[in-house]
Symmetry: C2
Subunit: 333 residues, 2 copies
DNA sequence: CTGAAAGCGCTAACAG
DNA sequence: CTGTTAGCGCTTTCAG
């Protein structure tokens, strides 16, 4: 069954295809009378414009790509999914659709997917880059569409970037722990080298310094961003006799809490803990967990806004935006 | 700057556009020699095929739409996001892209989005329908592309459907509680009328019956699927002096647990509780929560498989697939 | 105020 | 084994 084309509508309404197109897109004046005829014909035939043909001709797909680095572990994804949610919502308001793709933290997959996108498929790209060191972005992002980097900053300023200043919240967290009298505060983090991790560690070090606490490398534990790693590193920290722990990502936070519970170490009486990322379920841990909260939804929103500006022809120099993180105090510290 | 077209490659390689196209798509035999010339030309020009033009001509976009009903509450979304993840992964393996859209549980938004999709934009649709009663799906899904319904079953069998048999896991859960000696078991659920809720309630009732326990309507609490509602209904159940509670969705589970913790009611000593949906973080509640687990990722996978079959021309009658849910026993019962 | 017609980049039928 | 060319459905220029 052949679809109804603009031609069919034109014939039925006894006008030209140009007129139908213009009625459809409100792109030049059409007499009320004529408009009415066209609308009627469209309705009668149940006409639906072919968006692919439209894209080909107008060189605009109204589709935005989103490339995120999800890995299998259930929990690390909530953050990006929340971003995706924010993005989708704002895009829809602007008449755009969202193509979602996952790099799985794999640089090769990521670059391949960028190539797929780079075939007139999308009008713009929002990407949480896998790697901040390599420069393959320059090669593959050939300026065919505007791009916004989120959450992680590539080494060179290649495009607009929206980051969360997780230093702010981290500093607040460490500061609070210090004020509560803790002077041996453990720090658990995933691999360094990505901006988010580095930033959190720096804030930790700065807070210690500002409050004249000694910097002790044995209190800084670096592992993979997994539940098990968080668990294990907590064990190591306990040997160092810390009285407080800060975990720099949500997955490791869970591993840490799990360790403390397994070993019946009372929170916060024996060890205080502050984690990363805020989710509803943190209200039902016991005690409810204090965390540094990242405005994920807002980040998605901001990214879309920047993209829309570029799509509207903005030629401003690239900029980096930082949304503040925030300490949410509950019962674990 | 104009893009490189197939024509440019053809000229450079000194062949026809047809040959280039056939090399690209491996759609007819081309001499090794010629192939090589073409590949070289493509590489030299950094040619990237225009997927929009390709779609227009071949009437195939290689894009699949996914329409889910996310609402603002953080937690209810994990389930669908996990499905989305499964879908994206399998689609990519098949050379497809995923357009993600959100109905927000709003029937109007959902139908509008279907119309947007219904413009040659997608080759297939996977949808978790908002409403199982209305029949607007028939009107808007005009058979232009294959569709797979997931998680919720529309009243009429309109297309292939993948459901999770949450009855299985629910029955197991109630059975376990009964065997542990509970005879006043509360049941908290969101609004009835959607297949998932109904199924869980039925399983609850059946288990009671099978074990000759009285059916007591005052132990069945129906509310909105929110944290607060779960909290409130738990309060009501406590007045009925239940010794065990089953919560039929993840959000209400959290509300329920929160109530019990707030009122220092020991779990499972005073009240046992079994919830719905399994996530990593349930390991760090105290006690770790027992739940009925839904195979969300697998559901996404299955949905894609069905879609691929249809896209490959399968004309089988529509079928409903049910993936089993499963009780995961931890410390809360 | 409206129409005719070119052409976006590609695929595939037809013709050698 | 390869080339020519029509045409997918739409937008938009040019011409009234």
């Amino acid at each position: 069954m052949r679809n109804i084309r603009i031609k069919d509508v034109a014939k039925k309404a006894d006008v030209s295809t140009a007129t139908v197109s213009h009625v459809l897109n409100e792109t030049r004046f059409v007499a009320e009378e004529t408009k009415k005829k066209v609308f009627e014909a469209m309705k009668e035939l149940d006409y639906r414009p072919n968006s692919v043909a439209r894209s080909l001709r107008s060189r605009k797909s109204n589709i935005i790509g989103l490339l995120v680095p999800l890995v299998a572990s259930d929990t690390s994804n909530f953050f990006f999914m929340s971003i995706a949610n924010g993005i989708e919502q704002v895009l829809k308001e602007n008449g755009y659709n969202l193509i979602l793709s996952n790099s799985g933290e794999d640089l090769q997959v990521e670059q391949d997917q960028i190539k797929v996108f780079n075939t007139q498929l999308i009008d713009g790209l929002i990407i949480a880059p896998v790697d901040s060191k390599h420069h393959s972005y320059e090669e593959n992002l050939r300026g065919d569409f505007p791009t916004v980097f989120i959450d992680r900053q590539p080494k060179d300023l290649l495009s607009d970037t929206v980051l969360i200043d997780s230093g702010v919240g981290t500093y607040e967290a460490i500061e609070l722990l210090i004020r509560k009298g803790h002077n041996k505060i453990g720090f658990i983090t995933g691999p360094l080298g990505i901006t988010t991790s580095d930033e959190r560690l720096e804030a930790y070090i700065k807070a210690l310094k500002d409050y004249n606490l000694p910097y002790d490398e044995s209190l800084i534990k670096i592992g993979s961003a997994t539940f098990d790693s968080g668990h294990k590193l907590t064990a190591e920290l306990m040997k160092e006799e810390v009285t407080a722990i800060f975990t720099a990502n949500n997955v490791m936070t869970m591993g840490a809490v799990n360790y403390l519970q397994d070993h019946h170490i009372p929170i916060p009486d024996k060890v205080a803990i502050i984690g990363f990322d805020d989710y509803d379920w943190l209200r039902i841990t016991s005690p409810p967990l204090s965390v540094v909260k990242q405005p994920s939804f807002e980040m998605g929103k901001k990214a879309v806004e920047l993209l829309m500006e570029r799509l509207n022809g903005s030629e401003e120099p690239f900029k980096v935006y930082r949304l503040p993180s925030e300490l949410v105090v509950r019962g674990s510290c």
